[in-house]
Symmetry: C2
Subunit: 520 residues, 2 copies
């Protein structure tokens, strides 16, 4: 066997079953070795951002790393922006980045660049393999790192991939993710301060923590203390809908967020930082909480935040623990209750409350179209909601693809903006090829509406024609139906609630991907 065989055997041994790939010449031995690594599914992306974003989506749904395969420094570079989102989501990812043969690097061939330096700003762990005999343990180390919610980047010199290695038994085994640490003092402080704060207390779940179990544990504390249950604006994954315990989302807009958070003077942070503005503005404060707010950091970002939250519950006075929280009741409007006619963000929100299927995964990059979705869909059928954690757009199509490959039994609904969707539209081709069950709604307002809003926020009252042309997506109008069909994905256009409803039903009934251009 050669190094590439050894690397893939180590991935298989450590439970990696999916490799999102965009290979080049230096990765040909890896690709050839994939032929024999039958427990690993290779998925081709036509662009590296599709590859890394898919790995993020896969990780969010499985809590296990997929591998990526990327071609040298520039291939890695194309994948960085979605790695940024993965880093911010604490998604486990193992990147394998092919490099020139070790002896070839010094020749400075055209594709040579500083791969380690390129990986470092968007990886928790970077290693250039020292050679073919190290690859199996490199993989074990990378998987160990990734399982802690981190991005591991392993650089694979081509000669390490093609050199022969002895077949010497079972590859090294990666460590499991550690159990989240329960800080008894922090739990006791949280219990005491929430109890004292009453309605001025809140529990803020960020990152990967707002899963059903943790939300239930937090809701019990909230019921017992009078505290509010909050999630970060862009939590990586939230369990939502009927039967779940609802958390309020911290608003995106700075003024609204500051107003909302001003009612709290005690915040228990669960996988969250003290909330700050996404951007700075000349005349606004960057922190969102009131000065003097007390923060209690209960735990870091973990998929099992119920453990530290249960410790808070245990630390509450016996008397308080009698109160029981109420789960969200089912509140799915029937077809007859839906609004009609031309589409608005509010009507789309109502439609989603009606339409989200049970156990769906909603991948939300709707931005300005979607501000009303959160409150409208709290009583929808139970589902998981993924948010763009790092703010780098072009995220939803790749993440939806990876989530669908991770969960073939679930419907995935991608809520995409036309501006954001244009970053990585070729991702649709991978959906078509893999038959992923993704229904994409592209909200076509034909401008960077968020930037139009932000112009006002930064104090620019009048946007002239020259500046405005950097904010609008008309001239020419993007035809998403034509683009999607070109990539092999069935598509249609909807301009009314009725058309959206019919198109969505057709898309949902079919197996495989579909896209609806939702014209606003």
């Amino acid at each position: 066997m050669n190094g590439a065989d050894s690397l893939l055997a180590a991935l298989e041994h450590n439970g990696v079953t999916t490799c999102f790939a965009n290979p080049g010449t230096s990765e040909m031995h890896f690709v050839a070795a994939l032929e024999g690594a039958t427990r690993i599914r290779g998925v081709l992306g036509l662009f590296e951002g599709a590859v890394t974003g898919a790995a993020d989506g896969y990780a969010r749904m499985t809590d296990q790393p997929a591998a990526t395969l990327l071609h040298l420094g520039p291939g890695l570079a194309n994948g960085l922006s979605n790695l940024h989102n993965a880093v911010r989501a604490h998604s486990p990812v193992v990147n394998v980045i092919g490099d020139h043969a070790s002896y070839h690097r010094a020749l400075d061939a055209p594709l040579t660049s500083d791969i380690e330096g390129t990986a470092r700003p968007f990886s928790h762990w970077v290693r250039t393999s020292s050679g073919e005999r190290a690859l199996a343990s490199d993989v074990a180390d990378a998987v160990t790192v990734a399982r802690r919610g981190r991005v591991a980047s392993l650089i694979l010199p081509a000669d390490a991939a093609w050199n022969e290695v002895p077949r010497d038994g079972v590859p090294p085994t990666a460590l499991e993710a550690p159990r989240p640490r329960v800080d008894a003092l922090a739990a006791e402080a949280a219990a005491r301060h929430l109890h004292e704060a009453g309605e001025r207390g809140a529990i803020l779940l960020g990152g990967r923590t707002p899963r059903a179990e943790a939300l239930e544990a937090a809701a019990r504390i909230a019921a017992a203390t009078g505290a509010s249950l909050l999630t970060g604006t862009f939590a990586a994954r939230v369990s939502r809908g009927a039967g779940r315990f609802t958390a309020q989302k911290v608003p995106y807009a700075v003024d609204a967020a500051q107003e909302f958070l001003s009612r709290f003077d005690t915040l228990v942070l669960v996988g969250a930082q003290p909330p700050v503005a996404f951007f700075a503005y000349p005349t606004k404060r960057s922190t969102l909480t009131a000065p003097g707010t007390r923060f209690i950091e209960l735990c870091g970002d973990t998929t099992r935040a119920q453990l530290p939250l249960e410790a808070v519950w245990e630390a509450l006075p016996e008397s308080a623990r009698a109160a029981a929280p109420a789960a969200a009741p089912l509140a799915v409007p029937g077809a007859a209750e839906l609004p009609a006619g031309t589409l608005t963000p509010q009507k789309i929100a109502a439609f989603l409350a009606h339409a989200i299927p049970e156990d769906a995964v909603v991948v939300d990059e709707s931005l300005t179209t979607g501000w009303a979705f959160d409150s409208a869909t709290r009583g929808a059928r139970p589902h998981e909601w993924l948010n763009p954690t790092g703010g780098s757009i072009g995220w939803a199509l790749p993440v939806a693809t990876g989530a669908a490959i991770a969960c073939p039994e679930r419907k995935v609904i991608a809520l995409e903006s036309d501006g954001s969707g244009m970053y990585m539209p070729q991702t649709l081709w991978t959906q078509a090829r893999e038959g992923t069950d993704v229904v994409t709604l592209v909200f076509a307002n034909r401008k960077y509406q968020i930037l139009r809003n932000e112009m006002a926020n930064v104090g620019v009252e009048h946007v002239g024609e020259r500046a405005g042309q950097l904010l609008d997506l008309d001239r020419p109008t993007l035809d998403w139906v034509s683009v999607a069909r070109g990539f092999g994905v069935p598509a249609e256009r909807a301009e009314t609630v009725e058309e959206l409803s019919a198109a969505f039903a057709r898309a949902l009934a079919a197996q495989g991907p579909a896209l609806v251009e939702v014209v606003l």
Copy 2:
């Protein structure tokens, strides 16, 4: 005026007239300031790779920097792979990368990342502006650096953009590019060794050096000494066609290149490194010249290589200087001489010899389809030919866009592979919006043919189904006509020489962009 106004005034003062942009919230003051900077044309790209690639194309045709405008670390990251190509082409580029306000960085908002660390592997110069009062001199420094054929990355904190600065007269002036240094000893050595080597000598022009004037100067030396005139496989820009002095291109394939170069024992390097293989292969040497070849480095990569070459000419014996080189005769096949029927790479090469219009700019990412184009088009109407210097694919559509904006009076012909074109297809929208006169031919072989070839080169004889699916672009077939129309670019499909000829004529006759999917 605020810092952004000051920055744009400094760009205007230093002759920067084009800004390729993909802005976000942190760049809103820059965008607002563009309203008043009427000498700068803002061009919106829907993805940052389109932005940086366009700046590369613009630079190759003007030898002056365009500015880019990029949004934070992830926006920069999306532009890196085409910056890699620009770095390798010694293209002057000034990147302006918006950052959070300086006081906001420490809060670690979601879009925060290490921008300097991200820029460094793909920039010659990186600076975070110290504030609004430094911006005008930051720009002068960045333009000075760029004019030396370098990528300068200036990071613009949002508060530096929005803070007020005094209007204090004329901004600092950037230095012009220095005159290329003529190394008299190297010129004398080149003359002596070429004279001695006779037919075993060669002059290799790489990078930006193979312009008409330098090719003529080199051709005179070649005629006087018996040396051959060569260009690098992927020289940044080559003046070609009838009336120009033809250089032979070093072949891409390692075996062919080694065979070709084995006939030389003396190589004068003009803006070139000793030729090496693009990739390493298990059983091939990585250097392309024979062991013991003598290299004489005449000069670095410059747009005025005729100056050092003229010094070589002066150093030749008087007697040798009588011989005159012959320019390429016009050899344009008439329509009646063209092959007919279904398309092959050879037929397309013959068609291009017929079809390239006078003064065209050809942007060539045809890869496996295009190996025969070089020899077939040596007698075409005079034109400039741009090559992908850094090997990062997804290069041609953006570079063609920038070249067309730089040269509105010229036709730009983009020769694109279907695999490479899929990296940044949204670039077509910018072409449609700006009305760029670009005719794109997409060669649709529906696979990564180069990787199929490379599999054999790395010693894999049989590619199985599981590995093969990472090399093929069928299932589903990409419909480039539908994709292009979706982005607003007129498109048609050609399956024969006759159809290609008719479609190309229509595309050329129209103003604005057009695309032909050339099915192989």
